[in-house]
Structures are given as C-alpha cells and as structure tokens.
Point group: C2
Chain length 248, copies 2
C-alpha cells in the first residue's frame, strides 16, 4: 500500500531501460515518494530488470499506475510540471526545482493533484508532451556539461520535494551523548593550565607574560568543549605532571 | 586545466569501483565543480573503468589529486565537511546539504580552503575519518530507505554548491519569442466573443444573461494570453462564423 502522505505523482514518460525505471523508484523512495506512473514503457510491463534494480523500492513498481498515453496518465491531475533540460520556445513558466516543489507543496496542501513528468532517457520529453504541462522544471546544470540521467533528475526533484514538504532540519549538533562544558568548568580548566604552566616556566619572557596568559585563556573559551573534553584535558595535564615526577 | 572558479574540493576516500569514481566526476561537472581528490583508491590509479564512465568529465580524473591517506589529502584545507548517513556519537555540527554549502561558500569567499569527504561505497566513512572533519553533512533521506550511492551523494552536494554559489534563477517565464497580450487586446477579444455569442443566442435564459457575460469576460482576463494567442482566438471565432455562413 502507498503511504498516506500527500505528494506529487512522478510520471515516467516512455521510459526505455528497465534499469532506469528501477533506479528512479529507488531515487523516489529515498526521499519518501511512492506514487509512480508509467506511460508506454518501451519494453512492456512488468519489467524484470526494473524489479532487479529497484530492490528495496520494488513496492513502487508493483503499485505503479500504467497508462498508454500521457493524457491517460494525467486524467485526474490539476497541475503538471514537465522536467526538461532544453528551452522549448513554448510560452510557459520555468521553475528551478526548489521553487517548483514549493509550488507543488502549496497546491497539494490546497487539495490539488500534482504530477511531475520525466522524459525518456535518450531525447527527453517531446514538445507535444511539454505542451500538456502547466509549467517547466529546469535543473540548473553546468551549461558546458548537462548530462543528468533519468534517475538523477528524479533524485534531485524528489530531494527538493522533501525539502519543500518541510521535514528537513538545517543545522544541529550531534552531541554524541555529551553535554557542553559550563562556564565554571572552562574557567577551572583555564586556571589549571595557567597554574601548571606558571610552575613550568612557560610564561617567558616576563614582558610577554600577561599577554600569553590571556591568549591561553582565550583559546579555551573559543573552543566548543564538552564536559568530557574538559575532564580529558585535566587528565592530560595531570599525566604530564606525573611523568615529570617519575623523573624519567 | 581546472576552472578558475573558487570552489570546494571533493575528496573520495578509499573509493572501490572505478565506475563510481567516473560517475562522481560526471556528477561534479554537471554542477560546475572540477577539483577532485582521491585517497587510496582500492583498485589503484589511473583506473580505466573510471575513465570510461566519466566520458565528458574525464578531465576531472586526469587532474585529480591522489593521496595515500586522508591527512595527506587535507593538508592545505582549513575546513572539512564529512558526508555521512549515520549518526556517529561524535560531538560535531551536523548540517543539511543546503546549509553546509552556504557555509562553504562563505568560507571560500573569505579565502578559506574547503573540502568535502565522501566515503567508500560499502560502509561509508570510518569514525576515524569523521573525527578529522570540522562538520558533518547529513542528507535528509527517508529513514525507512537510505540507499544513496556515492555518485548520488556527490550529485546532491554539488547541486547544493551550485545553488549556494548564487547562480540559480528560481523562476521565469520562457516566452518562446512571444509577448504578453496588452489589456486592450484582451478587451477587444472579449468584445469579439461577446458580440458573436450574443448573435448566436448563447446568453440564455434572459435572467442569466449578464452573469454569463461577466463569467466569459472574467475567463479571458484570468488567462495568461500572448498577443499570438489573442490573434489565434480571434481566428477561431471568425472561422466558426465562416463555416456557419457556408451553410453546410
């Protein structure tokens, strides 16, 4: 069964190689999309090479909606995007993938049914296909080298869908079970190092003494230290003192 | 020769299959990146399978910097990202690809040298590798199905670099050589249809007449018509009148 999550349908138009259909299914499911439609696949359907390539995403192929032609695949859709690398000379809005999937998310949350068309591997969508779409998605590839394959185009669009549907955390720190050191802990660490370095004769020559102390203390404050880091750094220093005391 | 454009280096750490190294080169060059570094490739270097797969991006392989180990590959870098699918239990900032490449762009424009690490196909980066990085990049894949391959991870990161380096147009209309219709052109089109429909007896019954006229006029105003569209719609209507006049 498909997931309940509202989402666009991804429509593969006249795909050629089964492997690419399978890779497209994997790319979709990597970003939580599972509504595939397939128009007139060259080698018929089902396709064993597609199934082999899809591996963990095989369910998408089993549940894919087949259609003989594009109007048949789009009958229930209210808004259709066509992905294309080329400018077509058709009067039509052209979106970057990010903006396109934002528009898709808005339309879908307003109850619309949205589809995204992906053309056959060799030549891409025909103008006849693009004329049936409401808007174009253009991936901003290097103009000197535009060679995205079908699954890569599906991957980038699915990735942008996931970003647009608002589930992506931009930034966090993996604490690995640790806590940040408190100001007091850092202060005591700085004191510990300053005292031992004083005993060791590190702050030399005399006229640089205060500046060196400030630099050392400033360094500890600049570092994003955990409580465990602070304990480790105390241990490092104590061990150096023990080593010295052993008189080796 | 590499392009002059300031950019991060992409570092493939102990890559296994030559095909994947070639596919990574293509993925980079699709988004204008051409600084690859390779650490201890399993099958030695150069690698004919990598070259065959890279096709149009073969220059990246010829110019790739080889290193025996990770510290050797990173010697000149001031900030290093590690891409990883798993949480590591290392205390470290974790960025979404978009934010990571924004940070990279800021650092690079401030003169820093930035690298992004990609692990070997099977297992990804070791914790020993990740501990050498300043931050982690985590691609927001479906937790039920996280199966990005090496080239796909490179592709998404390169795509985000291109977005962050500010060359992507979010939205435009491909006019295909056409101009939007002027208000006057649309007004005259609406008049033309209204007159002919009046003659044809379309506005019936009488009590709905004014409402129907308003709806018809409103429809024309809602449509994003070009001058050519307006001329075509005039032609459609004139042709219907001619057909009627032929009395077939």
């Amino acid at each position: 069964m498909p997931t309940e999550t509202p989402q666009p349908a991804f429509v593969l138009v006249r795909p050629q190689m089964g492997e690419n259909i399978g890779a497209a299914a994997r790319a979709m499911w990597n970003f939580g999309l599972d509504r595939m439609r397939i128009v007139a696949p060259r080698d018929g359907w089902p396709n064993s090479k597609a199934a082999a390539m899809a591996s963990g995403a095989g369910r998408l192929l089993d549940e894919a909606v087949l259609a003989d032609d594009l109007p048949g695949a789009l009958a229930d859709c209210t808004y259709v995007f066509a992905t294309t690398a080329r400018v077509r000379g058709l009067t039509k809005p052209v979106y970057a993938p990010e903006r396109a999937m934002q528009v898709a998310a808005e339309k879908i949350s307003a109850g619309e049914k949205v589809a995204v068309l992906f053309g056959p591997e060799r030549a891409g969508l025909e103008n006849e296909d693009v004329a049936r779409a409401n808007a174009i998605i253009n991936v901003p590839v290097n103009p000197e080298f535009a060679s995205l394959n079908l699954a890569q185009c599906v991957l980038l669009t699915a990735y942008e869908w996931r970003r647009a549907s608002g589930e992506v955390e931009m930034e966090r720190t993996d604490m690995g079970g640790a806590d940040w050191a408190s100001h007091l802990e850092v202060e005591k660490l700085a004191d510990h190092y300053e005292e031992r370095m004083e005993e060791a004769g590190f702050f030399f020559p005399e006229h640089k003494r205060e500046g060196m102390k400030i630099n050392l203390r400033n360094m500890w404050s600049r570092m994003p230290l955990t409580g465990a880091d602070v304990r480790m750094l105390h241990g490092v220093l104590r061990q150096m003192v023990r080593w010295k005391d052993r008189g080796e």
